[in-house]
Subunit: 193 residues, 2 copies
DNA sequence: CGTTAATCTTGACGGCGTCCAGTTTGGCGG
DNA sequence: CCGCCAAACTGGACGCCGTCAAGATTAACG
């Protein structure tokens, strides 16, 4: 085994992601990750400083991936919901990233790289909604739209990942059906009882 | 210090809840909880068997509290959304419970008491939606309504708790504004681009 | 080719969850 | 009122963890 690993940083991230995917973020052990990477138990700390550093890097990477995944759908998607479906698809296919990103107690929220990645991903969301609503849309409506679609998609993804939704149908189909139902209920003034 | 604590079970739960509220579930230490309860480090295990046992009990208690909190609003609420606002309010005021309930990797998901509490809370949600839609509602629509309102409210609560939403306004106001915006967008066929 | 900085190792420390054998205590049958 | 049993709790041990400090190894560059 070479003294220098080559790309230990990447290896630690990948090992941590695999471990989180398997057993959740709580069960992550840096020593185990180091062991699997064929490296001493203290090596990871040299690249990330800290366990929180590893999770911070994962969260930042997650925001980058999320921004890339949603950017297309939100700029080119035909429907308001297409960006949302991309969000859901990201959460389900990058479960480990997703679970770390929205757990502030696990990482250093003041990390500059993380803050930048988060801000960029947020900008993608806002711009996409603004574009859907047209340039003359009131800022108030943009915010409302962002909160609405973000909350729905985030909640759906979280509930799906935590096993609270019926998984016999495809997630996209379930989500679309829910939105369609909600739209019909809104039309029928069901929200006002 | 008396050899018998009196109600150590409750003391452990309360101590754990306080610790989770302060630093998140990942930072929970049974030894620390025992210390604060004035009891030996191995005492909690005698009541819960396990750290996962403590978290399982917290999750079950959370589902009971959630069911109670939403039952009123969903049966007596005038609007479809009232139950949802109760859900959000529960999440924000019982943050520790909420954060454990939806993290299956932290507790024993096959625990009978937990499964029963979860099923009861789910039944409250389903019945509330069914009542809002009328007895003649198709099961398909009930499911769609449940997924829609549950996803939105759960996502909103999660995003709020993780610090991703603007907290200068009251959560209920932000949530209602988002729903109103989404309803108008649905009316305007904005979902279809 | 030598020096310097980055990379990694080794060992130590305290804290953690969990198991185990032993101690104390409340409560119940007599 | 007493003795006894089961429940509650203690104290210590074990292995694993994250983190720190000091030293060994290597890559890169003048």
């Amino acid at each position: 085994m070479a003294y220098h690993h080559g790309d230990l940083r990447r290896a630690v991230l990948d090992g941590a992601l695999a471990a989180i995917e398997a057993d959740g973020p709580a069960a992550l052990s840096l020593r185990d990750v180091a062991r699997r990477a064929g490296v001493s138990h203290a090596a990871p700390a040299h690249h990330f400083g800290d366990k929180a550093g590893v999770l911070t890097a994962i969260a930042a990477e997650g925001y980058d991936l999320l921004a890339a995944a949603t950017a297309d759908a939100l700029t080119n998607g035909e429907r308001f919901l297409d960006g949302g479906l991309a969000y859901i698809r990201f959460a389900l296919t990058h479960r480990a990233h997703f679970e770390v990103m929205f757990r502030p107690d696990l990482h250093r929220t003041d990390d500059p790289a993380l803050a930048a990645a988060r801000a960029a991903a947020g900008a993608v969301l806002f711009d996409g909604v603004r574009r859907q609503l047209g340039e003359r849309a009131r800022e108030e409506d943009v915010i409302g739209g962002v909160v609405a679609i973000w909350s729905f998609c985030h909640g759906f993804a979280t509930l799906w990942l935590s096993g609270n939704l019926d998984r016999t149908r495809a997630p996209e189909a379930v989500a679309e059906a829910a939105v369609a139902t909600a739209a019909r209920l809104a039309d029928a003034d069901a929200f006002q009882g």
